[in-house]
């Protein structure tokens, strides 16, 4: 029995400076991505073979790439793609993962099936299967999102399932069951609000991973359509001229690193301040 007064369970979100820094970086990145069409000096797909591989200059602040496109412009537009990929995959994986996790956690005969499939997904090397899917299935945005999203499913499904199993035995859920609340409402009123914090945290990690995975697949030549200025595409193309035009690689890499770092920092901060592990107590 602890003598220290137990802290309130609904502490206000107290974020440490590192998390706030991460949020600020993310905010800047989102803002530049949203405003890219208006603030960037050139069009993201405007080619100019005569002005290829130019070093940073007054005309091209961060230089040009192998076909004369403005690196700064493309990096800014790249944010639109990478952040969208991260966000879409994060949301999609969260939705599908939560549904599967809830099914596994509440329907006994489905549990075995779903968890074996999840084990199977975990066993398969994500990058290789991702490349195979995109190439074999003819590429395209959807194949890419699926290839990135599926390997992220297991973590979400497992987390949701374990949360469902633990929340299910919480007295307040049993009280609601005794009060005649049916399963859908039970999930909506009691499960979702209490599992939301850890789920959002895992969602940020899924999103960060998706951004990295997109760049990896693009690097391997099977990512976004190459005309699109995703950071992965920029790095993949820039590496061909890495030693004479390193800006073509380092600029998108810097954006990519900053984004992933910021998302991870925010995720860490949220995790520490909501502490999913201590869901049961308080």
């Amino acid at each position: 029995m602890s003598d220290i007064a137990s802290p309130a369970p609904m502490r206000r979100l107290q974020l440490d400076p590192v998390t706030i820094f991460g949020l600020a970086v993310l905010a800047v990145l989102v803002a530049t991505a949203v405003l890219a069409p208006w603030i960037s000096p050139y069009g993201p797909t405007d080619i100019n073979p005569a002005a290829r591989l130019q070093p940073p200059s007054g005309e091209h602040w961060l230089g040009t790439d192998r076909i004369g496109r403005d690196v700064l412009t493309r990096a800014l537009h790249g944010g639109r793609i990478s952040l969208t990929v991260g966000f879409l995959v994060g949301i999609a994986v969260l939705c599908v993962g939560v549904v599967l996790g809830l099914l596994a956690g509440s329907v006994r005969w489905l549990d075995g099936l779903i968890m074996r499939v999840i084990d199977g997904i975990m066993a398969m090397p994500a990058v290789l299967v991702g490349v195979a899917m995109v190439v074999m299935w003819g590429g395209g945005l959807w194949a890419l999102l699926i290839a990135i999203g599926i390997p992220s499913l297991p973590d979400t499904v497992r987390l949701t399932r374990s949360l469902a199993l633990s929340i299910r035995t919480e007295p307040y859920v049993e009280a609601a069951r005794m009060g005649g609340t049916r399963l859908p409402m039970l999930l909506w009123r009691h499960f979702i609000p209490n599992a939301l914090a850890p789920l959002i945290v895992i969602g940020t990690y899924v999103g960060a991973n998706a951004i990295v995975a997109e760049s990896l697949l693009s690097f391997l030549g099977v990512g976004m359509p190459p005309e699109m200025p995703s950071w992965g595409n920029m790095i993949a193309e820039g590496r061909l001229a890495f030693q004479i035009a390193p800006w073509g690689v380092f600029v998108p890499a810097l954006f990519l690193t900053a984004t992933v770092l910021a998302v991870n920092l925010v995720g860490d901060g949220l995790r520490d301040s909501t502490d999913p592990l201590r869901l049961k107590s308080d």
Binding site: R116, V129, V131, A132, V135, M136, S215, L220, I235
Partner: protein, 313 residues
């Protein structure tokens, strides 16, 4: 204990079946046609058709699957459509460098990451913790190719300390093997080191809050003893878990490293096979990788059972 192991082994059967089906579907559902690629740029439709028939690609899919699955169970993964070589032989040639890279990376990451995380946990909230976790956060977020380029340029190409590419088998020249593996291992290991550091920190921090750690301190144990004999002993379970599950990521994640450093491993084999639609290789490598993962995680479970008497029951 034996019953625990048997149960654990039996549980992998449905997983393997699911993996086999999934691999086959990924490869065949896209409607790719390796025959056309083998035939070359200016081949005509008739030539492609005869080739397709010769390769057995015009049979119905379920038949092809049963055929493949049956042969696989007998240990025959078929032959490469392009090289004609048995896939098993190709994998056995390629698996060495990949395993060497994966194990080297794990060793590197564990040897650096776990102490890093433990030290951060012990100094939680103070500057060593913040410094180490800052390094880990960056290592966690850096794209692998940036690490590779930077290392190759500044440690290999310019000063010539390390070879820029290639793989020397250890039995040929162990020193050269180590020199050649250093950069790839650091490249791939930076991420895993950060991951293990983060997981170790969290695990040790959790364990330091446990009652039995307080008991140890009440016995008058030194902080080092509290940390090693008590906290780490229990934190080992989550740490080993993440090491085990990292293995799948590693076997897949070696692709980029293998490509950049020209290491003839499984990752490169399969990406090249994908670009050529060499179905048997793709199926074989992904299946073998999954089997290794399943096996490693079985071993991990056995280590749990050794570490934790509660699981043995």
């Amino acid at each position: 204990m034996i019953s625990f192991l048997l149960r654990r082994a039996l549980a992998t059967v449905p997983v393997i079946a699911i993996v086999m089906l999934a691999v086959f579907l990924v490869v065949h559902l896209g409607g790719s046609d390796p025959a056309r690629i083998i035939a070359g740029d200016s081949a005509g439709a008739a030539e492609v058709e005869t080739l397709r028939e010769a390769l057995g690609l015009n049979r119905p899919l379920p038949i092809q699957f049963l055929d493949w699955a049956g042969n696989t169970l007998r240990g025959d993964l078929g032959s490469s459509l392009f090289y004609g070589t048995p896939v098993v032989d190709m994998i056995s040639v390629r698996i060495g460098p990949t395993i060497a890279l994966a194990i080297g990376t794990l060793l590197f990451a564990v040897v650096l990451g776990v102490p890093m995380g433990t030290f951060a946990a012990v100094t939680a909230g103070r500057w060593p913790d913040k410094l180490l976790m800052g390094v880990a956060s960056i290592g966690f977020s850096l794209p692998i190719f940036i690490v590779a380029y930077t290392l190759v340029y500044w440690l290999a190409l310019v000063p010539g300390w390390f070879p820029v590419q290639g793989f020397t088998p250890p039995q040929t020249d162990f020193g050269q093997f180590l020199r050649g593996m250093t950069l790839p291992i650091i490249t791939l290991g930076a991420f895993y080191m950060s991951l293990f550091a983060r997981v170790s920190r969290a695990a040790v921090l959790d364990m330091l809050k446990e009652d039995f750690v307080r008991t140890a301190r009440a016995k008058g144990a030194t902080p080092l003893r509290v940390l090693t004999a008590h906290a780490l002993r229990c934190a080992a379970v989550p740490i080993i878990t993440i090491i085990g599950s990292s293995f799948a990521g590693l076997l897949g994640g070696v692709v980029v490293t293998e490509t950049l450093f020209n290491i003839p491993g499984l990752g490169r084999l399969v990406t090249e096979a994908i670009l050529k639609r060499d179905f048997p290789i793709i199926q074989g490598v992904i299946l073998v990788t999954a089997l290794i993962y399943i096996f490693v995680n079985m071993v991990v479970d056995m280590i749990y059972a050794l570490l934790d008497p509660r699981i043995r029951q």
